[in-house]
């Protein structure tokens, strides 16, 4: 199916080869959202949204509940296919090669994707291992960094919401992919945990990574580092 779609794209691209290529040259590196329209059922959630996040940039998606923050994040990681508009990663439409785009990003929803019956360590092992062969030492270091050493053997079902968040942070620190998409990264975390989120993000930006964070709280970062996008309801 994807092959057929690609074939069509290739055919069309051949028809108008020059503009396509030239556009690629002129794109800056990073993530760019162009004129994005999205409906959820009958609701027109995102209306012609356009934003560009360069390398080393952090976008804070703010707005009240139901304004479409999560929808925007899910569209930005290519899960939702926009009705119109484009999503560009380093100048290329991500829907042309989704696997490549996906291997450049990590998305953490407002619930950490943990199996209730597995321990924190096992969860981390399976989650990170799908993408990276990771040694036991690195795993332990990451768990220790998020303060999870003491309870890393406990089944995720017994962990508090904040502890589950911390496991997600450990995965984040292990999967150093360029693009982080974080839904409510600071929710349920104590003060130290929130500072940890800030530190992780700052390190990531310093490496040249990109962060899209959707939250109606403030991000634990200096304001100067953050680009703010305010979504409004309705």
């Amino acid at each position: 199916m994807r092959a057929a779609r690609l074939l069509l794209i290739v055919l069309i691209a051949n028809g108008k080869q020059l503009p396509q290529n030239r556009r690629n040259f002129m794109r800056p590196e990073g993530l760019e959202i162009e004129n994005l329209h999205l409906w959820r059922g009958e609701r027109h959630v995102l209306r012609g949204l356009g934003v560009s996040v360069p390398r080393g940039g952090c976008l804070h998606v703010a707005g009240p509940n139901g304004a479409g923050k999560t929808t925007l994040l899910r569209a930005a990681c290519g899960l939702l296919y926009p009705e119109s508009g484009r999503l560009l990663w380093d100048g290329r439409d991500v829907h042309e090669d989704l696997p490549a785009f996906h291997s450049a990003l990590i998305y953490i929803g407002h619930e950490a994707p943990l199996k209730a019956d597995l321990s924190a360590r096992e969860n981390l092992h399976y989650w990170v291992g799908m993408r990276r062969r990771i040694g036991r030492g690195a795993l332990e270091a990451a768990l220790q960094r998020v303060g999870a050493s003491a309870w890393s053997e406990r089944p995720a079902r017994t962990l508090s919401a904040g502890q589950r968040r911390r496991v997600a942070l450990a995965a984040l620190s292990l999967l150093l992919v360029p693009l982080w998409l974080l839904d409510e990264p600071t929710t349920n975390l104590d003060a130290a945990g929130q500072r940890l989120v800030g530190t992780l993000i700052e390190e990531h930006l310093a490496r040249g990574g990109l962060v899209l964070a959707a939250t109606h709280h403030e991000l634990p970062l200096p304001r100067s580092r953050v680009q703010r996008l305010e979504l409004t309801d309705g």
Binding site: R5, L8, L11, I12, N14, G15, G41
Partner: protein, 245 residues
């Protein structure tokens, strides 16, 4: 290569107007052909030497069975196109097909059973074609059930499209396996349903009837399609134009 025809094919307003204009061009010929075939089949065609006048059920059973398969194929092809090119109009076509196909599959089962009673002496025989038809009805019902169970219209479109494509891959396998199964268990004395030796005066009404029903299907599809396009359309300006408020 010029792709404008392809884009126009995917443009809902264009298709809507086209459907509106084309409907009578299919509907009236369909009516004329079906009436002609009815006269030919019921009056002009001679009785079959074996089945007497009973064979005339074929003029209803065969078109119904033909519709059941043709509509399913149309639905699956439209679904595949819709999935590959994300074409809304193709989703609308697939959605329009299901109720038409399901009702004719039902008709094919009833007429098959009505034919079976005088020929076999029983209302239901596990004849391979009737059995396949029954499974086809279940496939239609599953498709409509799935579509009805999903609230989000886009997801309903795309999920049911996957099912339609999976179904069409399975239809030949199901038919083959049912035929194979039937050949193992069949009592040799039972007469197989269908295909009496048709002479020309018997054959032409059947062919005309099949053509008539095909045109009829297109006409009904076009009417349904307009409704399905309207449901999927976001642009208020041309909806206003069409609905005329």
């Amino acid at each position: 290569m010029n792709w404008t025809w392809f884009h126009r094919l995917g443009s809902p307003p264009h298709i809507y107007r086209l459907a509106q204009q084309l409907t009578p061009w299919f509907a009236w010929p369909a009516a004329a052909l079906i009436l002609t075939a009815l006269y030919g089949g019921l009056v002009l065609a001679p009785p079959d030497y074996q089945q007497g006048d009973g064979f005339r059920i074929i003029y209803m059973h065969a078109p119904a069975a033909w519709m059941s398969l043709m509509v399913y194929t149309t639905m699956a092809v439209a679904a595949a196109v819709a999935l590959i090119w994300r074409m809304k109009v193709a989703h609308a076509v697939a959605a329009s097909c299901a109720p038409i196909g399901a009702s004719f599959t039902f008709a094919a089962l009833v007429t098959g059973s009505l034919w079976g009673e005088p020929m076999w002496g029983t209302w239901w025989e596990w004849d391979p074609r009737l059995t396949s038809e029954l499974i086809l009805l279940f496939l239609y019902l599953g498709y409509m059930g799935l579509r009805g169970a999903i609230e989000d219209p886009q997801r309903a479109d795309r999920t049911s499209a996957v099912l339609a494509v999976v179904g069409i891959v399975n239809v030949p396998i199901i038919h083959y396996s049912v035929t194979w199964w039937n050949s193992l268990h069949q009592a040799p004395s039972v007469m197989r349903l269908g295909k009496p030796q048709l002479s020309l005066p018997m054959l032409w009404p059947l062919l005309v009837m099949l053509l008539g029903f095909t045109l009829y299907f297109v006409a009904v599809l076009l009417v349904r399609l307009r409704g399905e396009i309207l449901l999927r359309e976001r642009s208020a300006s041309w909806i206003r134009e069409v609905v005329g408020t």
